[in-house]
């Protein structure tokens, strides 16, 4: 099985995930990381415990007078929950879709530049401007240097990439602040597959980069 990740989301990100206040795309990326990271699952559980205390200490807002009676009348109603989507697509031979992404894609890559494939994800509840996609970068391939107008969060699903801040392998998370620039490249050996959520458009640097801008679809 996958090794445990070494690059984790910030405490703030984990806390907001526990609180349910992350944007939908970022929440998916964090969920993909949590599937492989017991340390961050524990951090989220601590956040949920904090949420419990905050809830218990909330002042009360009265409900309608008949609210309890209406709930009691509904107790034996069957629950209408859609079944969990089947495992389905593979992203590469032997690489299953993270559970968090099931039902969101058929796993078909679109080639957007030499050595670069992309799957746009239509994430329910994503806000306008929020962009969620899978990126597959051939071994050794370098992405154009780009900056971020909004925050970006990435979880590596397979292979490795490197940027100025280090090397990221399966399960690792990289968070980029708005305004930061980076130029990631896939490490040699195996294609690097990442799940990425951005909030706000990218700023591509240089002419070539701007020509390649369609690769991330913005």
């Amino acid at each position: 099985m996958m090794r445990e990740p070494t690059h984790h989301p910030a405490d703030e990100t984990l806390l907001r995930h526990a609180a349910g206040s992350l944007p939908a795309g970022s929440a998916l990326v964090v969920a993909a990381h949590l599937e492989h990271c017991p340390r961050c699952r524990a951090a989220v559980r601590l956040g949920e415990a904090v949420g419990g205390v905050l809830l218990a200490d909330c002042p009360e807002t009265p409900l309608a007078q008949d609210a309890l009676a209406r709930s009691l009348a509904r107790l034996e109603e069957p629950e209408s929950r859609a079944p969990a989507p089947a495992a389905g697509a593979e992203l590469a031979p032997g690489l299953a879709l993270p559970t968090a992404l099931r039902g969101l894609t058929d796993g078909r890559w679109r080639r957007v530049a030499p050595g670069i494939g992309r799957i746009r994800l239509d994430v329910p509840g994503a806000r306008s401007g929020e962009l969620v996609y899978l990126l597959r970068v051939a071994p050794g391939r370098r992405l154009p240097e780009h900056g971020h107008r909004g925050q970006e969060i990435t979880c590596v699903l397979a292979g490795r990439f490197r940027d100025a801040s280090g090397v990221y392998g399966p399960g690792d998370v990289a968070e980029m602040e708005a305004g930061a620039d980076h130029q990631p490249s896939a490490e040699p050996g195996e294609a690097c597959i990442c799940l990425i959520a951005t909030d706000g458009r990218l700023r591509m640097r240089g002419l070539l980069a701007r020509a390649l801008q369609p690769l991330v679809g913005v």
């Binding site: 349910g20 989220v44 415990a49 949420g51 209408s80 925050q151």
Partner: protein, 197 residues
């Protein structure tokens, strides 16, 4: 993070008994008692998270219905009742936002945990004790408590929160890191002086 009333250290134990009564006997009186305690607080919670008033009322009721249906999955060894209800309410709200009857997968679902089972965790064990966690939260410096609270109630990026609080970029993040480090440190101490004074 209101000061805890004198009864609040008792409540968690009672809550667990109520959930157990629902799980084992489908006890409607126990449900009514839990409803009285949590539904009005859930409604406040949803309102603070930006949910419109009529939806907040619906979500509070839906959450309590889910508490009834899932009572037999409550594990007192994993979470305090308030934390368990909190996560159910959080997922109800997210589902409603996504218009999908499918929450994010439960990170604690054993089928999602391919790595070794979780090691015993002193911090989480202590966090199950609501009174202890409440005391640890109350000990946070005010500026750290504030960023924790904002992470729960404000559905917006921390850059905006920083603007709202008038503090430099990156400060929310570093304050939260300090706050969580402090919480973990407090909770990993022996329990002797835990609980409300």
């Amino acid at each position: 993070m209101n000061p805890a009333g004198p009864e609040s250290s008792e409540a968690p134990r009672d809550d667990a008994a109520l959930v157990l009564a629902i799980a084992t006997r489908r006890d409607r009186a126990a449900f009514s008692a839990l409803f009285a305690r949590y539904a009005p607080r859930l409604k406040t919670w949803f309102l603070r998270s930006g949910t419109p008033a009529d939806r907040a009322e619906d979500l509070a009721q839906e959450t309590m219905l889910a508490v009834w249906r899932r009572a037999d999955s409550y594990d007192p060894g994993r979470a305090a009742v308030a934390a368990w209800i909190f996560t159910i309410g959080r997922n109800q709200r997210i589902d409603a936002l996504r218009r999908l009857a499918r929450p994010l997968p439960d990170a604690d679902d054993p089928s999602l945990a391919p790595s070794a089972p979780e090691a015993p965790d002193d911090v989480l064990d202590a966090a199950r004790d609501e009174a202890r966690l409440r005391a640890a939260l109350r000990d946070l410096p005010p500026e750290q408590a504030e960023v924790v609270r904002l992470a729960y109630y404000e559905d917006r990026p921390h850059a905006e929160i920083e603007r709202a609080l008038g503090i430099p970029l990156g400060t929310v993040k570093s304050r939260l890191r300090l706050a969580m480090g402090r919480l973990r440190a407090r909770l990993s101490q022996p329990a002797s002086k835990g609980g409300a004074p």
